[in-house]
């Protein structure tokens, strides 16, 4: 009879994820070898750089490595989607790095929806950045390759130690590439805080840090659990199977076990073991380990899934390796068709095991999550301390991204990927309200600070880093709001957008003298990707129990962020000095425009948050307006839509104000800034962005923990993003065109028409997605 049950993550085993690392690693190796070869004088004498053919080969290899990794991930992604919806998790144990007691650091790779998204984005961003890198300096190629490789390891890592290792590799390589001591210092502090927080979590999962020191739990290390079906509703034919399941927020939900149709395979039960990696299992009194295939004599090393066992009463002995006792799981009754999971509980370092732990329950109720929530470090809840440290690490990583920005072409996307650790552990943060609040508030502070820095800093040379930092803050808010899917979306947007911005930088770090195509693409990608995720985060936050204060702070943060991004997108070059010696931005409308934008953002957020924000059960104002059009739409979706539309209006106003205050004159002197390009880009973006968003959401829909509500919100926000972009660029185009025509701002009607078109398209897309 099973004592424990729960909706544990099903997984499949693959051998191909590590292949994705081969390309980047080989490219790094070749670049490093070229560096040495060059340095040792076998290159052209007297030359400071490689000969062009060599350089081009190196660049192609680096790009090829990234594309190869992306292709492998895409292929594995296809395999992932070929699996049943609740089994979309691939696992590979590559090698054990260090094992000390229960602390098992292995190169274990995992692929699920979020890691697939982030991995592909990182590979593509890396390939793009390699295309813009000066390949005649192979040392820079090697360092950049280390950034990409480390980021990919971090994305695919199944546990936090490997993730920290990969991030360290990427972060310090990026800092070395930038030659920035500040970046090194901030990143070192970030890693220290992350290690401390994750390490504390490791111990808190398996014991209590009390006044008398650490007291480990007396639970067995490995338990047998019966996997409960994920979302089956409760029916009348319930029998003795578990009738309640615990969701990620610790709430009990009724469920009904899935009864499969009897088949030949059901004559046997099956057993799965994900970890400790490399462990083998002995069944009953057998002296030989269980094998896979079952008819062979090859031991099945963990992770393995679905090993057949005959029905009956069994004892499993899990042999981990030297220095550890075998774990014995006794009295396990396997009925035909049963799916037995040998789950590791206690101090674990993989994300999946940690989140599986809180899903386990006994017939009397949840087994671990209440105990975890009650644990303390001194006077403080342990999970609060853990997430304070992790949030500090993430915030410092954001600072690291900012300090990297002074480089000629900053490689900053690893900083965005680093925020994923909060999303991976978000279900644990959900156990303690104060931990959620810390994430929301600290994320909001980071977002506001970074957005303000982006908007107000006199130099544009750290734009990519600043934008990444601001988005990292948004991801922190998302983790606090439990909006995992949206957080992943923001990370992906940050990776792609920041890389595009970096590509647009000229030698001095400014966005270049002929930047329109690149910078425009960057701004589009950045704003769209970021905003659709931000809308979803706010939507999720409106329902999250983070308190009014959290909502206010988060709303302010998101509005500031949107404003900062918009302003950054239109501030690529200093405006010419006026005769009075004032900058072009000094006009009164220029000063009021940011305020308008911020107010618009806040107003949109406030309108969407009405029930929780203003109190009462009444529908939010915007719901009241749009209810006839969106009966089936949930309020958070509307919220996301409203935020981005409002921010779009603010952005439009901002664009107009910059044009009128003189920026347009500067643009006119540069043909690359011609209004046609704005218009073309703006018109083209809407449908393209929506199609891309549709594709992205197709993947995000299966992202773990991204339930339908969040996915719907993301999609709604995506539609809003199209609206935003249309409003921005349409407004700019119309204004500019009107100036060309008559020198005044009679272009406003045209801009409004464009804006209206995009708003309509956006709303239509939103309604379509929620139909």
């Amino acid at each position: 009879m099973f004592v424990l049950s729960g909706s544990l993550q099903r997984f499949g085993v693959t051998s191909w994820l590590v292949v994705a690392l081969v390309g980047p690693v080989c490219a790094v190796g070749w670049a490093a070898w070229a560096t040495l070869r060059h340095a040792w004088g076998r290159a052209l004498p007297g030359e400071d750089a490689l000969a062009p053919p060599d350089a081009e080969s190196l660049r192609r290899a680096a790009i090829g490595g990234q594309l190869f990794a992306a292709a492998i991930l895409a292929w594995q992604g296809a395999a992932l989607f070929a699996r049943p919806a609740d089994e979309r998790f691939l696992l590979q144990h590559v090698a054990r790095v260090v094992r000390a007691g229960f602390f098992d650091v292995s190169l274990d790779l995992a692929l699920d929806g979020p890691s697939l998204l982030m991995g592909v984005a990182a590979c593509l961003a890396g390939a793009g950045l390699f295309a813009g890198l000066d390949a005649r300096r192979p040392a820079r190629l090697a360092l950049a390759g280390l950034v990409c490789t480390g980021t990919l390891v971090a994305v695919l890592s199944a546990g936090w130690p490997t993730m920290v290792g990969g991030l360290s590799l990427a972060g310090f390589a990026a800092a070395a590439l930038a030659g920035s001591s500040a970046a090194i210092g901030t990143f070192a502090l970030a890693e220290a805080a992350t290690v401390a927080g994750a390490g504390l979590l490791f111990w808190c999962l398996g014991g209590t840090l009390g006044q008398d020191g650490y007291l480990p739990d007396l639970d067995p290390r490995v338990v047998a659990a019966q996997r409960a079906p994920s979302d089956a509703p409760l029916g009348d034919d319930d029998d003795d199977a578990p009738s309640v399941r615990v969701d990620k927020e610790g709430k009990s939900q009724p469920l009904r076990p899935v009864k499969k149709a009897p088949s030949a395979l059901d004559a046997k039960a099956s057993v799965s073991l994900a970890g400790p990696p490399g462990a083998i299992v002995y069944l009953d009194e057998s002296r030989t380990p269980m094998a896979w295939p079952a008819s062979s004599s090859i031991p099945a090393y963990a992770p393995f899934a679905g090993l057949p066992v005959p029905p009956g009463l069994h004892t499993f002995r899990v042999h981990v390796g030297a220095g550890l006792d075998d774990h014995v799981v006794q009295h396990v009754t396997a009925e035909p068709g049963d799916e037995i999971v040998l789950a590791t509980v206690g101090s674990v370092s993989t994300f999946r095991e940690a989140t599986d732990m809180i899903a386990l329950r006994t017939p009397q109720g949840p087994r671990f999550h209440e105990a975890l929530a009650a644990r303390r470090v001194g006077e403080w809840p342990a999970l609060l301390v853990v997430f304070v440290l992790l949030a500090a690490g993430t915030a410092l990583r954001a600072a690291h991204a900012v300090s990297l920005g002074a480089a000629r072409m900053p490689w900053v996307f690893h900083a965005a990927v680093g925020a994923a650790i909060l999303l991976r552990l978000a279900p644990l943060a959900g156990l303690v309200a104060s931990a959620r609040a810390v994430l929301v508030v600290s994320g909001a502070v980071v977002a506001v600070a970074a957005a303000a820095w982006v908007a107000l800093a006199p130099r544009r040379d750290a734009l990519a880093g600043g934008v990444v930092a601001a988005l990292v803050g948004a991801v922190m808010v998302g983790a606090g709001a439990q909006a995992v899917g949206a957080g992943i979306a923001v990370i992906v947007a940050a990776v792609l957008g920041a890389s595009a911005l970096a590509l647009s930088a000229d030698g001095a770090g400014n966005l270049g003298t002929d930047p329109a195509p690149q910078a425009l693409r960057a701004a589009i990608g950045l704003c769209a990707g970021a905003v659709f995720g931000l809308g979803a985060i706010l939507s999720a936050l409106s329902d999250a129990p983070a308190g009014t204060f959290g909502l206010v702070v988060a709303a302010a943060a998101v509005a500031s962020l949107v404003f900062g991004l918009l302003r950054a997108a239109f501030a690529r070059r200093p405006a010419p000095k006026t005769k009075q010696g004032k900058g072009a931005e000094a006009g009164p409308r220029a000063r009021t425009a940011p305020l308008l934008a911020a107010l618009a953002g806040l107003g949109g957020a406030g309108a969407g948050f009405s029930p929780g924000f203003f109190g009462g059960d009444e529908a939010s104002p915007i719901e009241a307006v749009l209810r006839p059009l969106a009966q089936a739409a949930p309020k958070p979706t509307l919220t996301g839509l409203l935020v981005v539309v409002s921010a779009g209006i603010g952005g439009w106003a901002l664009a107009r104000s910059r044009y009128q205050s003189g920026a347009a004159s500067a643009l006119e002197r540069d043909a690359a800034w011609g209004p046609q390009r704005f218009l073309v880009a703006g018109l083209g973006f809407g449908p393209l962005g929506c199609l891309a968003g549709r594709a992205v959401l197709g993947i995000a829909r299966v992202a773990r923990r991204a339930d339908d509500r969040v996915v719907g919100a993301v999609w709604g926000a995506m539609a809003g993003a199209a609206t935003l972009a249309g409003s921005l660029f349409g407004g700019a185009a119309g204004a500019s065109r009107s100036e060309q025509a008559s020198g005044d701002d009679r272009g406003r009607p045209a801009a409004l028409v464009v804006l209206a078109v995009f708003v309509t398209v956006g709303v239509a897309l939103y309604l379509w997605s929620n139909a």
Partner: protein, 661 residues
């Protein structure tokens, strides 16, 4: 009166043997002097000895058994059979055979047997007597493969004597070749030890969890034994000794470029012998002798180089201080130890064997000057080991060595001597003084964190490249101390790994500092203006040294730091957090130094390049090892699994509740 007294004394001496024969007397007789060596018969290993009644009264033998006490001492499947069975009675002059059988079975964990067969009889004057028993499964390499640890001690010692002899004979040109050969042999012996050792073996598998044991009586009147053996904690540091020894001799200048009175090579070789002895010693006296043998040649070598006398005096003072503290510790431990047997079965009132000292019940020993003896012993030993480890505030000796010593000697000293201090903590403190270690773990954590922080800060502010590397090196020692303070398997393994990684990083940093200083012609970082193009090998390998000294991936030092912080968290969370924050200083300092050294680069590839490239040549094996172990440290760290578990169980009274934690 006086003549009567003389007569009485004479008679007493004359009659003493006869008096001794009075009553039942027991004697154990093997074919030769003990221990009894078992020989292979089929699948079993068998040996025989006799219990003889040598008195003038019947001898009652009540018990003949393998010595186990209340814990495991011997491997499984050891049986003792007495001719005629026990208990038995022996008439005067009668003897009975005792057959000892060990059936190790296929693929046993313990590949040798070290045991005592104890006999309890009616001979009250002798008390419980024992016969030492020994057996060893054959090695494919014969005696060479059976005694690698002893050979690893003797080989560098012989090498040092040979090098000195060559110099005396005017064959100085062969010195470096001989030293390289000795280094390679040492590495081969350590490699063989790695190949042979079973990582899963622990105390419960017998032989005190030790493998490759060589044990003979060394100084019988003092009950000192040549007792060497290895467990997983020692092997990584043995690898460090081998690697750094080879690197040091590779970095040593060829005969033509040497100074006249350069005693570096014999000093390093002799010190390697001492360090190896200290790492494999299972006898406290041998351990202390090994430490002194490791220190003294370094001081002598320093005294032989220009400007090195001050550093040599510091090393001398260090050695004297460490010796004084350790003698005090040995005295306290000796006072607290109990009756034991030497390897051949000789009964001694007290023993210096570390496994015997590990059985001292410190909580029930009489206080020393009102203080608990465990606390006194811990304080003495901890201060000695902290001084060796160059922890704050004992680090000045290391700075002096960095500044004064030539590259090979500096690298050797920076890499190995502090690691001996750390090993003393991991081995002696943990095994012999678990109560004291628990009591003083806060001091360990605090000193470790302060060492890291002060090292990082000092390196940040320093302009001298040698002093910078010295501070970074000392900071790495603090990482291991922090890990050990956790008293968890993670912390102990982290300390072991940090010892290895930190040692390799220290050697790399020192060699790199010498290389760049020689290349630039200055020790001032701000004035170096190094050009990568001018010395590409130095730059490439120096970059690895910088990354390693910052404890970053992909080097071995990173995993040691990570595991140490995690391991220290449950017992000292605040110190662990501070330690993690302090470690963030290391990358800033290391990268900062590199950036300063390369800023305003000038291409000045001149006469100093060969010297710097030679120093970098020594760095090559270290750098490769750093990266290889950084990518995959499991093969090295995995050997420590059983030993780490034993140490954690010893340290944590809670541990048995969670086996394998």
């Amino acid at each position: 009166m006086r003549s009567w007294l003389v007569l009485a004394a004479f008679l007493l001496v004359l009659l003493a043997p006869a008096l001794a024969m009075a009553g039942p007397r027991i004697a154990l007789r093997a074919g030769s002097a003990g221990p009894l060596m078992l020989v292979q018969r089929g699948e079993a290993w068998v040996g025989e000895f006799e219990i003889a009644s040598t008195g003038d009264a019947p001898l009652a033998v009540s018990r003949v058994s393998v010595r186990q006490d209340d814990d495991v001492r011997v491997p499984p499947r050891v049986e003792v059979a007495v001719e005629g069975g026990a208990p038995l009675s022996l008439a005067p002059g009668e003897a009975r055979k005792v057959t000892v059988t060990w059936t190790p079975g296929p693929d046993p964990r313990a590949r040798q047997l070290l045991a005592h067969v104890v006999v309890t009889s009616s001979d009250e004057s002798a008390g419980e007597v024992a016969m030492g028993v020994s057996a060893r499964l054959p090695s494919p390499l014969g005696p060479l493969g059976e005694h690698p640890l002893t050979l690893a001690i003797l080989a560098p010692l012989a090498g040092a004597l040979l090098v000195s002899g060559l110099r005396a004979c005017g064959r100085a040109r062969l010195e470096r070749s001989v030293a390289i050969g000795v280094g390679a042999l040492h590495l081969a012996l350590v490699g063989w030890s790695y190949h042979t050792i079973r990582p899963e073996m622990g105390r419960l598998d017998g032989n005190e969890g030790l493998q490759l044991v060589d044990r003979v009586v060394w100084i019988r009147p003092l009950a000192v034994e040549w007792y060497v053996g290895a467990d997983g904690r020692a092997l990584p540091l043995l690898l460090l000794v081998s690697a750094v020894l080879l690197a040091a001799v590779l970095a040593h200048p060829p005969p033509g470029a040497q100074r006249r009175r350069d005693e570096t090579l014999p000093a390093v070789l002799a010190s390697a012998a001492g360090a190896t002895a200290a790492l494999v010693a299972c006898d406290l006296v041998l351990f202390v002798v090994g430490l002194l043998l490791a220190l003294a040649p370094v001081a002598a070598g320093l005294a032989s180089v220009p400007g090195g006398r001050a550093a040599a005096r510091r090393m001398g003072a260090l050695g004297a201080g460490v010796l004084a503290l350790l003698v005090g510790f040995v005295a306290v431990a000796y006072r607290a130890s109990e009756r034991a047997f030497l390897v051949d079965g000789t009964v001694v009132a007290r023993s210096f064997a570390l496994p015997e000292l590990a059985r001292i019940d410190w909580l029930h020993r009489a206080p020393i000057a009102g203080a608990p003896p465990a606390a006194v012993a811990f304080t003495l030993a901890f201060l000695a080991f902290a001084a060796l480890a160059a922890a704050l505030p004992f680090h000045p000796w290391l700075v002096g060595v960095h500044v004064a010593a030539p590259a090979p000697l500096g690298a050797w000293t920076a890499a190995v001597i502090p690691r001996l201090g750390l090993y003393g903590m991991v081995r002696v403190l943990v095994d012999v003084l678990p109560e004291g270690t628990r009591w003083g773990s806060v001091a360990l954590a605090g000193m470790g964190v302060l060492t890291v922080a002060s090292g990082g800060l000092a390196a940040l502010a320093e302009r001298d490249v040698h002093r910078t590397s010295a501070y970074l090196t000392s900071a790495l020692a603090g990482v291991a101390m922090l890990g050990l303070s956790g008293l968890t398997p993670q912390g102990i393994a982290g300390a072991t790994l940090a010892g290895l990684g930190g040692g390799l990083a220290a050697a790399a940093t020192t060699l790199a500092a010498h290389a760049v200083a020689e290349h630039a012609g200055t020790r001032d970082l701000d004035a170096m203006r190094l050009s990568v193009r001018a010395a590409p090998l130095v730059a490439s390998l120096g970059a690895i040294a910088v990354v390693a000294s910052a404890a970053l991936p992909p080097t071995a030092a990173f995993w040691g730091a990570l595991t140490s912080v995690v391991g220290a968290l449950p017992r000292h969370p605040v110190w662990a957090l501070l330690g993690a924050a302090s470690m963030a200083l290391l990358p800033v300092s290391a990268f900062g130094a590199a950036l300063r050294a390369t800023s305003g680069a000038e291409d000045r590839g001149g006469a100093n390049v060969p010297a710097s490239e030679r120093a970098a040549l020594g760095l090559l094996p270290i750098a490769l090892l750093l990266v290889a172990l950084g990518a995959w440290p499991a093969p090295v760290v995995g050997t420590a699994a059983g030993a780490v578990r034993d140490a954690a169980v010893r340290l944590s009274p809670v541990e048995p509740l969670r086996p394998g934690m």
